[in-house]
Symmetry: C2
Subunit: 260 residues, 2 copies
C-alpha cells in the first residue's frame, strides 16, 4: 500500500490494526511485557493513560525483550476520552459481567468485529484496565462493546500482558492463513509404485523367514502391515531407509545362521 506509513516490522500501517490502550497501568514490567506481546502479534500502536510510575519507564524497556519500537511509539494521555477521541470503535476488556446493557464478545468475536470496522475505514482500539481492579464501570461505559475472555471460572484473573496477548493472538490468527494441520519438512511423498515395490519385497522376505503364519491369518497380517506403513505417509527417503533396514536385518540373520 503505497503512501501509508509502514512500520519497521513491515507488518501493519497505523490504523490498519487496533490500538492497545492501557488505562492507569501500575507496573512498568507489565507495560514492557505488553509491548512484547503486541509486537508478537503485529500490533504497534500503544496508548497509555496516566501510567502510575510516569513515562518513559526503564523497567518497561527491560521487560520488552526488544520490542522497543512499540514503547518508543507509545502515546501518553491524561484521560480515556482523549485516548479514544479519534477512534470509531472501542472495546473494553473486563473480567466481570457488568450491570450495563452492552454488546459482549469473546476475543474471537471481538477481532471479527474489529476487522469489520477497520475494513470499513474506521479506527479501532481495545481498553485494558489497571492490574488490580480492572476498568471502572464509568470507563466501560465509554466503550462501544465489552470483550471477555472465557476462562476457568475458579481462577479467571489474567495478568495484564497475558490479556493483551490473547486479544493480539486472536487478531493475528484472524488474518493468518496457516492451515490448522499440515505436514512439515522436506517432503517428497513416496509414490504408490515405490510403496508397492517395498511391500512386495517385505512380504517376500517375511515369507522366506517363516513370519507369514498361520496361513488363515496371512491376509490380516499383510493388511495390518500395509496399513501401518500407509498411516506413516512414507516419503521417498523413508522407503529407501526401509529397504536398507530390511537388507540389514536379512544380512544379520544370515550372519547369525552361518555362526550357528
Amino acid at each position: 500500500m503505497a503512501g501509508t506509513d509502514r512500520s519497521r516490522s513491515g507488518e501493519v500501517a497505523a490504523g490498519e490494526a487496533p490500538a492497545i490502550i492501557l488505562v492507569n497501568p501500575q507496573l512498568g514490567e507489565n507495560i514492557g511485557a505488553t509491548a512484547r506481546a503486541m509486537l508478537n502479534c503485529g500490533l504497534l500502536e500503544l496508548r497509555l493513560v496516566k501510567p502510575r510510575d510516569g513515562w518513559p519507564n526503564p523497567t518497561a524497556e527491560a521487560m520488552a525483550s526488544g520490542a522497543i519500537e512499540v514503547l518508543e511509539g507509545a502515546k501518553l494521555y491524561d484521560t480515556i476520552q482523549e485516548a479514544i477521541g479519534d477512534l470509531d470503535f472501542v472495546l473494553a476488556t473486563t473480567a466481570r459481567s457488568r450491570d450495563q446493557v452492552k454488546d459482549a464478545y469473546t476475543p474471537k468475536g471481538a477481532v471479527a468485529k474489529l476487522r469489520w470496522h477497520i475494513a470499513a475505514g474506521g479506527r479501532a482500539g481495545i481498553l485494558f484496565g489497571p492490574e488490580r481492579a480492572g476498568l471502572l464501570n464509568d470507563d466501560v461505559a465509554l466503550a462501544d462493546a465489552i470483550v471477555h475472555v472465557p476462562l476457568n471460572p475458579a481462577f479467571a484473573s489474567l495478568n495484564l500482558a497475558q490479556a493483551v496477548l490473547i486479544l493480539g493472538y486472536e487478531w493475528f490468527q484472524s488474518g493468518d492463513e496457516t492451515p490448522d494441520e499440515t505436514l512439515v519438512g522436506t517432503v517428497i511423498p513416496a509414490s504408490h509404485e515405490e510403496r508397492e515395490f517395498f511391500f512386495t519385497r517385505l512380504e517376500r522376505e517375511l515369507e522366506e523367514a517363516g513370519f507369514l503364519f498361520p496361513p488363515h491369518l496371512v491376509p490380516t497380517i499383510r493388511r495390518n502391515l500395509r496399513n501401518m506403513f500407509t498411516r506413516a505417509r512414507l516419503t521417498d527417503q523413508d522407503v529407501r531407509t526401509l529397504h536398507g533396514v530390511v537388507t540389514a536385518l536379512v544380512k544379520k540373520q544370515g550372519k547369525r545362521s552361518s555362526k550357528d
Copy 2:
C-alpha cells in the same frame, strides 16, 4: 464422573486435559507464570524435566499469583522419555520449522487433535523447551507432532508462559460454549408496541416543535430516527428513560418559552 480424582478447582480430572511438560526451564518466574496461565485455562498437570534451579523453587511460587495447587502437584523427571512415558499423544512446541517430516498444527488444530485423543481414552501432553533455545531436534523427534503458533515473523519469540497460555487458551475455548457475540446486562427487550408508542409520541412532539421540515424530507427523517433507535436494541427501561428525556426537554422548552 464418580470415582475420578477431581481437583480442588472442580474443573478437570487427571487425564481429562493435556499435561504441560516444561523441559529444562531456566527461570522460576516462568514456571510460576506458567502455573498461573495453566490454572486460568483449567490445566492442572505440570511436569518438569530437570528445572535449572532445582525444585521446589520459591521464585515460582511468588509468580504463580495463587496457582499453588498446580505447583504443589508438579512432578519432577530426569528425562523427557520418563516424563512422557505414560502418554499416548505428545505435541512439541517449536518456533522454527524443522528439518523433520512431522505433522504440524496451529494451536487450534492442536487442541482439536488433543481432544480427539483424550476422547478416545488416551492421555496427552505438550512439551515446551527451555527459554533461550527451545526444544532440541532430538527432543522434537520424541513427540508425535509439532505445534507452532503463527505470529509476526519479524518478532515471533514468545515468552515461555505466554506460549503455555496460548495453548491453554485454545484448549479452554475448544470446550467452552460462550457465544462469540451476545448482549449482556439485565435485558428486557422493549416490545414493538412499546417502541411504536414511543416513536409516535416523539414524532408528534417533533412535529409540534417544527422539527419535521421540509415536508419532502419528512419520510426520510422519520425513517432515520426509527433506524437509529432500532439499532440501539432498546430495552424496556431504555424506552421509559427516553419518554422521560422527551418530557424533560419539552418541559424545559415550555419554561424557556414562558420566560421569553
